[in-house]
Symmetry: C2
Subunit: 271 residues, 2 copies
Amino acid sequence: MNPPAPYYQHQGITIYRADCFEVLHTLEGVGAYVTDVPYSSGGAFRGDRMFSTLSKYASSDSSQQAGIGFTGDNRDQRAFLAWCSLWMSAARGAAADGATFATFIDWRQLPTITDAIQAGGWVWRGVGVWSKKFGRPRDGGFSGACEFLPWASHGSLVESGAYPSGAFEYSPPPVSRRHHLAEKPLPVMEWAMANVPAGALVVDPFMGSGSTLVVAKRRGLRAIGIDVDERQCEIAARRLSQDMLPGLELEDLDAGELEGPALLPLEQAEG
Amino acid sequence: MNPPAPYYQHQGITIYRADCFEVLHTLEGVGAYVTDVPYSSGGAFRGDRMFSTLSKYASSDSSQQAGIGFTGDNRDQRAFLAWCSLWMSAARGAAADGATFATFIDWRQLPTITDAIQAGGWVWRGVGVWSKKFGRPRDGGFSGACEFLPWASHGSLVESGAYPSGAFEYSPPPVSRRHHLAEKPLPVMEWAMANVPAGALVVDPFMGSGSTLVVAKRRGLRAIGIDVDERQCEIAARRLSQDMLPGLELEDLDAGELEGPALLPLEQAEG
DNA sequence: GCCGAGAATGAATCCATCC
DNA sequence: AGGATGGATTCATTCTCGG
């Protein structure tokens, strides 16, 4: 099979505007997958509002009550597991021996993701933690201060000479300064990719605004980003075209504004 | 039903030397469960789980294998899920409305524990993270720097006026200075119990060396600790008898040595 | 009591050998 | 074969101890 025509291609970095399955089936020799799977939306299953509603149910005490759409909740959860298992399996089919896999996820979907990782044939190796330092406070409960990075390998873990910590602390910039609602700050992405060996091909099946590619480019890695949304592809391409002199700190790149015509704001549905 | 005779009882703190089921079925009005369930973890290979806790978890570098191990750590996945569901369900049967539940666990068993929490009828609310700052390094992978604190409530979450963070960073003291191999430092326990409202009855079904009770006593809470191992009961009782003047810092209490005769190490057979 | 240099450590993991 | 055992490995942080 051949991949679709690239949306962007320059200096070892390629962007495809496509569903990830279309591209994953055409790849081989992938050394690492690093991504941020969408879990609060996703055209594959349901509209954003519907999913939010269900999440709201699940987060209330109403799961103990009668009359809630339990089957609907359940089916969404199952569909998410099935869909993740499928794309993770497709990803593994394109992976080189010893390839690594990592995706960001929130606490609620973490168990589903670790099931999907193993269902997809990956060897689950651990869970990294990104601490944002602050989360929304909760009277009588713990704030949601962390996001999780379950990671895995295709077969034996290959030594890369890197020993990243399982915990990383970094305060994210305000939403107003992000290119994407769920955007991961570049230092956080750099941490998540710290164990990727030199020369590896990195693939992000849910590219979003392209933080994975920006870090890959800085490190001189080959990389492929995939996103169904053309606006995200454009944003990512513009970020890659920015000045990336080594003297620039990642934080500065994060704060850099994109040149060119203004882009339409993203609708909520993209979160 | 009546509980067994207490092993220790003083100033609102009670210790039972018993299997937790024996006691849980006799309780009522419990405001919070805070515990550290035996992980039944220790490696991806079948054989690795079968070792004693000392050889599984204590540093293999140090030839000193003296110390106190603990029991009930050898269950396989299915049995661990079933057993946890049972005791969590029994615990919920004794819980007051709005009671909270929290247990420490490692990354490998986290999904199993969140399943058990929900199977036991609790409403899963989130996952706290204790960062030890440093874990054993892994070439090509992330270190295991964190332990996790999934938490839940019995029905609606009750406001307690406390807003603890979902992340807590603290370096544990070396094994040689602990009362229990898996002992949680007092500042970590204090964080894990930060949302427990004043006046609540706290129960720890797997007391170990009694850190939960020590923090409860400091906070003026009523508390019940349960452990099958009489040596742990004795250690906990001694810790509770130590000087706990408010002027003393928790770190100092951690470092305090216990008076009385030395304890025998646990035999390998029990591991 | 404070500070710096050197030593020790880790709720592992993986693999080569034994039985 | 397959389970059990023993040993080598890793480095940021903490601990120990002397000055």
